[in-house]
Symmetry: C3
Subunit: 153 residues, 3 copies
């Protein structure tokens, strides 16, 4: 691979990795696009939201079932992402980090405003970059509001 090719590819990979994250949150905020949502993950991906009082989800079916519940229990929500930073970019693997703050309202009326950070592992697949690990933690202590909102899951 020429030097120009390698540099172009690094820039394109950076953009593609950001696009996976953007696609994931666009699907989350669509309140319906479960196919688009799981398509951001490898089939054996881990979505770990245990730190939020929720579960450690493994695989498309578990992720899909979790968000089906979120969509059912949420009146509206918005996830603003920021501080997206790629700390490792290998040929076919990458590590990224970012923040999200979300405003949400449950169908029962409970309102949330949460600040979280996440560490992500990604792999290059035949269908582009996918997340194989999404580990989300509270950045600001959130008490037990999240688990109250999703008490059914």
């Amino acid at each position: 691979m020429s030097d120009i090719e390698a540099r172009l590819r690094a820039i394109e990979d950076r953009a593609a990795i950001e696009d996976v994250l953007l696609a994931y949150y666009a699907a989350v905020d669509s309140m319906c696009d479960l196919d688009g949502l799981v398509d951001c993950f490898t089939s054996d991906a881990v979505l770990d939201v245990g730190d939020l009082g929720l579960s450690r989800l493994v695989g498309h079916d578990a992720i899909r079932a979790f968000f089906a519940g979120v969509f059912r229990d949420t009146a509206h929500h918005a996830h603003h992402i920021s501080n997206v930073r790629i700390s490792r970019l290998e040929c076919d693997e990458a590590t990224a980090h970012g923040y999200v703050f979300a405003k949400a309202k449950g169908v029962g009326g409970l309102e949330l405003f949460v600040h979280c950070k996440y560490d992500i592992e990604l792999v290059r697949t035949a269908a582009g970059w996918k997340m194989c690990l999404f580990d989300e933690d509270a950045q600001i202590p959130i008490g037990d509001e999240v688990s109250a909102l999703h008490a059914g899951h």
Copy 2:
């Protein structure tokens, strides 16, 4: 156009489109730069903030008059943009999406904190990328605070 040229141009276009959005909000938050603000739009652009209880503005004069009113009625405001995503990039046209949350205080003391999303259509002109459609919608229901703040317009 060579492959390298096409790839470089796609990367530069992505950055240039983000820059138009950044320039627009820098002008909005300047509280004075109406020339810089309308320069982000084509002369026949549509700025549709009807979903916020405001108007559907067509053309530089209408956009300029609207923001002259906003600047007059606002004590201070800040627009934080995020989740900027380009879903279509053709040779001379593009579609982009993003979020903004804004904190604002009217000269009468009314305070607002709004979460909006927007869908944008852009075209490449001799003077660079410009927005020809900016369609802004409430992401979180905002009641009628915005129309109350800008009741005079």
Copy 3:
């Protein structure tokens, strides 16, 4: 320098400048990484937070001492950056701008939610881009909460 080289370098510089800002705030939010924090600045850098009721800090030692105090007095905080815009990119110098909103809680229980903007001057050094001026101003008036939180400094 060929045209391709110049264009690639401009794109890489843009990304590298954003990475300095991301590294700075990652260090700030680490609540401990003083080495990583000062490494984002030239040795004679100015960090001017005078507009927030704080000090004008000059050089690594002053910046380090300031943040050692912040880390000691803060229970938790998170800095969400947005609207990062590069307005000047020369061969070895650049000017950038951006917003940050931060949620913080002091060890004494005082809670803050601040909206700031910053103007940054950067230079290219043998060790990459570094900030030589970071001038932070309140975007939304913040009263004297910040100085109250950091009253000891």
